[in-house]
Symmetry: C2
Subunit: 349 residues, 2 copies
């Protein structure tokens, strides 16, 4: 087991001082005679020298690293987000430390502490909603934070990148209304989250435009974790006044919801028209392929990273920025006009 060469080894081998080597390593940090620069570069490649990140961080006070804090990578939405963030980060020479929270504020707090220890330059996170003081402290210590997908009301001065939640929910609802549906159920995220509220807002707005009344029984805000989606499906369809249309706007609950529909033998779209948020690859492999709201995950990743790196390099004006990207509605075969005029029938389990 060899020992990797250090900057002093390079300096010695090149017959110069460490200062010169450092200046070669960091152009713009001072002048170096062209001849010596050449010479140093030669020695560097000869020795296979690579500067130790830890040393640089220690003296710089912060690392060329960003933290990515998401619920879990098993969720395809976050997996794809992480994939793009990692990919984009690489092209900027930045590394990504991934942490998961399982939607647990306690684990989230732990993650933030860890990232602080690592002196990360920035954090891209889907916040659980808690830890308001902790986020504040993090920012106070100079860590640049960008929230993606969700925001926290108490932290209004944080950059946020998300999709147009309200508009997306509205378009999905409009689509079902246009087909003639009047009883449209919505399974969404907790009303305590910005995402949940916005999507309910869009849903409500669509109903109002169509002069349809909003039946609170049809709106289910369920947690991101657990099997709330499936349970909501069960309870919605068990009702004598069951909906003819369903929008699953909680990306974490789509699989659970669809699984329950399949288990219950619900025929889509004959028994129920369905639209789900987030275009997981499998949504077109089900039968019928599902109509979806496609979140431009790549855009979310690119903008988040752009923001966080921009802040780290101080090339962004002060003041929080909010970026909302448009989501596409992708119609497939899971929606048709409701059967009969009166939207009421039972579904056999």
């Amino acid at each position: 087991m060899k020992k990797a060469p250090t900057i002093r080894d390079v300096a010695a081998a090149a017959g110069v001082s460490v200062s010169v080597v450092s200046r070669v390593l960091n152009p713009d940090s001072g002048p170096v005679a062209p001849a010596k620069r050449e010479q140093v570069l030669n020695v560097i490649s000869e020795l296979g020298y690579r500067p130790r990140a830890a040393a640089r961080e220690l003296s710089a006070g912060h690392a060329l690293t960003v933290g990515l804090v998401v619920t879990d990578l098993a969720n395809p939405f976050f997996a794809q987000l992480a994939d793009r963030v990692v990919w984009e980060a690489r092209s900027h020479g930045v590394q990504v430390v991934v942490m998961t929270t399982q939607e647990d504020p306690h684990l989230e707090a732990e993650s933030l502490d860890t990232l602080l220890d690592r002196s990360v330059g920035g954090v891209i996170a889907t916040p659980t909603g808690g830890n308001v003081e902790k986020w504040d402290r993090l920012r106070d210590l100079g860590v640049h934070v960008v929230f993606v997908d969700r925001a926290i009301a108490e932290l209004s001065d944080v950059d946020v990148v998300s999709i147009e939640n309200s508009d997306s929910a509205r378009r999905a609802t409009d689509h079902l209304i246009a087909l003639g549906h009047e009883r449209i159920a919505l399974i969404t995220g907790p009303a305590s989250t910005s995402t949940g509220r916005s999507r309910i807002g869009g849903y409500r707005a669509a109903l109002e435009s169509a002069s349809l009344s909003l039946d609170p029984m049809l709106v289910r805000d369920v947690p991101f974790r657990g099997d709330g989606g499936g349970d909501a499906v069960g309870s919605l369809l068990a009702s004598p006044d069951a909906p003819t249309g369903l929008i699953v706007a909680n990306t974490a609950q789509v699989q659970s919801s669809v699984r329950r529909l399949v288990q219950m033998g619900v025929r889509i779209p004959d028994d129920l028209s369905v639209i789900v948020f987030d275009d997981n690859p499998w949504t077109e492999l089900t039968s019928p392929p599902l109509s979806v709201i496609r979140q431009p995950i790549g855009m979310l990743a690119v903008h988040s990273l752009e923001l966080v790196l921009g802040r780290m390099q101080g090339r962004l004006p002060a003041g929080a920025r909010t970026i909302e990207v448009k989501a596409d509605f992708v119609p497939r075969s899971s929606c048709v006009a409701p059967v009969g005029l009166v939207a009421s029938k039972s579904v056999t389990g």
Copy 2:
């Protein structure tokens, strides 16, 4: 923007030397009087002091970090693997830096250099197959490497964690043979990879046991990237002598393959019995639900991390270890006996 307290701030506030604080931070590194320990701990929590990771790494020479190098996180297999690795790592106080290679040895090489700069203690990787010298150099520099899912023939002295590839392929093939299939196609990974070879081996063994001949036309080893799975499906089914059974043993190509089957209107299992490797959550949402080989991803993650941490802490005997975990065959509804006795019929596109 405040400045975080350092160990010297703590020492000063507690009226002791930095040595004492350091010993409190690292038990077993020396004695501390109980009273002073208490006192230091109080000051630490009062000040909210947290040791800077960079400083520790610099003096230790290596970081409490492991690198995870996979193809891409958009692949559910790797996403779940990463999820579990991150989760397990946290419980050991270790952070995970994720890098993706897109199956490109050049990008892989870059990732390894980066991880070297970061002085990671270990690397868990699904190697592309290239960069033999680079992996050697990494190990030579004291970085502990564990390959997961795949191995590299030239690097026989590296720890490997994988599933029983040969056995898994054999069981899938046996299942179809038992149903009466005689023309069974196999879509697998490149024959240049350990995984690809093992799975072909298991397939061949099953056929031999049943005294069936192996038709080379039915074995398609396709790259992990691209749309090779779909293309293979198309070409297999276009043959006048099309198979009645199909095993997709290239996890990266399952989606592509199934998508093509759906597009071609192939009726499963009537036209074709199908078994795919890897139990993605959506495999039971298709109609019919697909029979799968379920890879115990959690086990792969746990063992990989266990190995790499064990090496880092020097509590594992020398000598490469190979761990093979059993994969389950999960029968669902995508396999039936072939129609007719002579296995030959065309499928309409």
